[in-house]
């Protein structure tokens, strides 16, 4: 046997061995247990649990948010000198990318901020990597302080299959809704009121276009703004219970319903009528809202997270309102919360972690959050806010009282974000018809809900 032949055989053998090793062991390991502490086992006074280091991973790195979390962490450690908080802070996207590895490692953090959606929190619950907070919710009264629509955004069934109900897995600090920002001076010049119905809104857009003003500032190059823009139209035509089922990926609704057809038709109609920024698929999100801030556009459909930026740039000239009410006759607004704080299954200090979450979402904490220029998820103090901040707080409060809050549409299935992003871009440039647009979404939704 010549040497090169021997070597080749050796190589083949090695490859075969590697392959059989591959087949033998699956990657990863069985997840956690999805521990749940019962209400009577909850310990709310943690001053006597001994010295504990609580590891927290959060993404509160921007301006006001960074300030309030630092203050709260400091306050918590002063209240409980036996607790040290070891904080890891990352930007939103960095956190999302690294959390999967961190949460399955041997040194998993105790408290993590997990994105609500199925690809993140849902997948963690499915694998038993987060603790159900139901016991703590009773002990601390979270189930009374936080309204049902807010809690539903961090609720899953124990196996992670059903989103929007079941056990509570996290608590958020801030709220957010996608509503209608408007330029007051332009409305006044056009002799228009803030539209509260679809008919008013369409009349306003028409009047603006006739006066050579851009009716709706919109930039969809980044894709995801399209989810909000379409949601804004859908809010006006589709009953909110249907939107909830669609958004949470639960059975009982249809993307091809008459109301959704009306919504898609209206979106296309507005595109054709030139109500949106020309070539909006080529305009970035930031350039779009910056242009609105500079006075290009009567309306802007965007989240309350732009409050600080728009108020800085426009002062008293900017206002905020919930989406107009359309044929459904009921208010609906896409919205949600900031990322909920959750307790990992691996945490050995669940009581301390829960006390921490209670502390950073307490009434006193909400005041600090509001003072830092954010929208507190509960306990907002109307008397302390003015200008557009008051508009935003009012919209959030009304949405809560009227039960108007509906989830982001991309929560539905793990693939839905990519799909909806692409489909709204295509609907926007006319490369798919209304029906093609809706049936693509319906297929993904019905495949998912029927479990195939």
């Amino acid at each position: 046997m010549n040497p090169s032949r021997t070597r080749r055989l050796l190589g083949v053998g090695l490859a075969a061995a590697l392959l059989s090793a591959t087949v033998a062991c699956a990657p990863g390991e069985k997840g956690g247990e999805g521990t749940e502490t019962q209400p009577d086992a909850v310990k709310t006074d943690i001053s006597d649990v001994g010295d504990v280091t609580l590891t927290v991973w959060d993404q509160e790195v921007r301006g006001g948010q960074a300030k309030q979390i630092q203050q709260l962490n400091k306050g918590f450690m002063e209240k409980y000198p036996n607790v040290t908080i070891a904080r890891t802070k990352r930007s939103f996207t960095d956190l999302q990318r690294t959390l999967r590895n961190a949460i399955t490692s041997d040194e998993a953090p105790d408290v993590v901020q997990a994105n609500n959606g199925r690809s993140d929190m849902g997948a963690f619950v499915e694998n038993g990597l987060l603790q159900s907070l139901d016991g703590y919710a009773k002990a601390y009264g979270w189930d009374e302080r936080f309204p049902a629509p807010v809690r539903s955004l961090a609720s899953y069934s124990g196996d992670g299959a059903v989103f929007g109900e079941g056990n509570l897995y996290g608590l958020p600090q801030v709220g957010e809704v996608v509503g209608l920002w408007y330029n007051k001076a332009k409305l006044k010049k056009l002799k228009l009121e803030v539209p509260t119905t679809t008919a008013d809104f369409e009349a306003a857009a028409k009047a603006a276009a006739a006066a050579d003003e851009l009716p709706i500032q919109f930039g969809n190059l980044d894709g995801w703004p399209g989810i909000h823009e379409f949601g804004f139209v859908q809010n006006q035509f589709v009953p909110r219970d249907d939107i909830r089922n669609l958004g949470f990926g639960q059975k009982g609704a249809s993307w091809t319903s008459e109301q959704n057809k009306e919504a898609a038709g209206t979106f296309s109609k507005w595109v054709d009528a030139g109500y949106f920024t020309p070539d909006f698929n080529g305009v970035g999100y930031d350039p779009a809202w910056q242009a609105f801030a500079k006075g290009e556009g009567v309306f802007l459909v965007a989240g309350t997270w732009l409050q600080a930026n728009l108020a800085d740039a426009m002062g008293d000239n900017v206002g905020f309102a919930l989406p107009p009410v359309g044929t459904t006759g009921e208010a609906a607004v896409t919205g949600g919360t900031g990322l909920p704080f959750a307790i990992t299954d691996a945490s050995k200090h669940a009581d301390v972690a829960a006390a921490y979450i209670d502390y950073i979402t307490s009434k006193q904490a909400m005041t600090m959050i509001q003072d830092a220029g954010n929208l507190p998820v509960v306990d907002g103090d109307r008397s302390k806010s003015q200008g557009v901040a008051a508009d935003v707080l009012d919209a959030w409060t009304t949405a809560g009282q009227d039960n108007a809050l509906v989830p982001y549409l991309d929560y539905a299935t793990p693939d839905f974000s990519d799909l909806l992003t692409a489909q709204v871009q295509k609907l926007g440039n006319g490369s798919v018809s209304d029906d093609e647009f809706l049936s693509a979404l319906e297929k993904e939704y019905s495949d998912f809900t029927s479990g195939s």
Binding site: A26, G31, R97, L221, D279, N281, G282, A422
Partner: protein, 308 residues
């Protein structure tokens, strides 16, 4: 003692066939081999292992055999990115190589004042981080951006559009940025290659009545065949594994019009929790890149008769 050692060594020499490397040689390469195995072969093996599983990165993976590979070759959503990458190859690789060749030939032929400055300017995009390049070009391509302004200024209003929002133009737009980045590198490579050619060769050709074009094809191009292979390899690899430009400029949009394999890997494996599918795309992409580079070098060697 010393004589026995010498005879021992001599005996050992005779043991192997002449020219056969001594076993101790493996000891010398061992450190490099260990590093290579640990940081390249082991992860590669792990990636191959993962590609046979459906795994969300959290729980226990499920064995799916070759399903992931079947999906890459049959699922239109996974095949389209590879098609887009091929379009980008034209812009990232073929166009810069052609432009670089012409520029280099021109610059060698008639030394101009400020050639150094010119060379630097053309090469500059190579030095800038690609994310920065992407951010800048995103602004240039905006509907109200400088490119459209320029088009409108010269009366070509019909051509003005939201370049990155137009499914028919988005790959061209991204591709031209790649060409802009790659041309400098190719030009510098070819300049180096051409500088080896004796001036007398050109003079002789000119005396024989060869024109600019004839000189280019008969002297310059054959002289840089080796550099051509290098330039094609580098730019092709860059084209096939493009990520930053797409990620920053379009995020794969509009629709799915600019999704490329590397973006698909990131989206599937990191964002959507489909680690198996993502890894499989990555492995297929690796295979494609290896084939492409092998092919390029094969052609360069064949036509030249030597190693290029």
């Amino acid at each position: 003692m010393s004589s026995s050692l010498r005879s021992g060594r001599a005996a050992r020499r005779q043991a192997g066939s002449p020219g056969e490397p001594r076993l101790v040689g493996y000891l010398y390469v061992a450190p490099a081999l260990v590093v290579f195995t640990l940081f390249l072969l082991v992860p590669l093996g792990y990636a191959v292992q993962l590609s046979f599983f459906e795994w969300d990165g959290l729980g226990l993976g499920t064995w799916v055999g070759l399903d992931n590979y079947v999906a890459v070759f049959t699922d239109p959503e996974l095949r389209a990115p590879f098609r887009h990458a091929l379009v980008l190859v034209c812009f990232f690789s073929l166009l810069p190589v052609a432009l670089g060749l012409v520029l280099a030939a021109l610059m060698m032929r008639s030394p101009i004042r400020g050639a150094g400055f010119f060379r630097t300017v053309v090469f500059l995009p190579q030095v800038v981080a690609l994310t920065v390049v992407a951010v800048v070009w995103r602004q240039i391509y905006a509907p109200e951006g400088p490119l459209n302004d320029a088009l409108r200024a010269i009366g070509l209003d019909g051509l003005a559009r939201g370049w990155l929002g137009d499914p028919d133009w988005v790959l061209v737009a991204i591709g031209l940025v790649g060409a802009w980045v790659g041309t400098g590198l190719c030009m510098v490579l070819f300049l180096a290659g051409l500088s080896k050619v004796g001036r007398e060769l050109y003079e002789a050709a000119r005396l024989d009545g060869a024109g600019l074009v004839r000189e280019f094809w008969s002297i310059s191009v054959p002289a840089v065949r080796g550099e051509l292979a290098v330039a094609l390899t580098l730019t092709m690899v860059a084209a096939l594994r493009t990520f930053d430009l797409v990620y920053v400029m379009t995020g794969g949009g509009p629709g799915d019009a600019s999704r490329v394999p590397a973006y698909e890997v990131y989206d599937r494996a990191i964002l959507e929790g489909e680690v198996g599918t993502g890894i499989t795309v990555a492995l297929v992409l690796t295979a494609v890149i290896l084939c492409a580079t092998w092919l390029v070098n094969r052609i360069a060697v064949d036509e030249d008769g030597d190693a290029g």
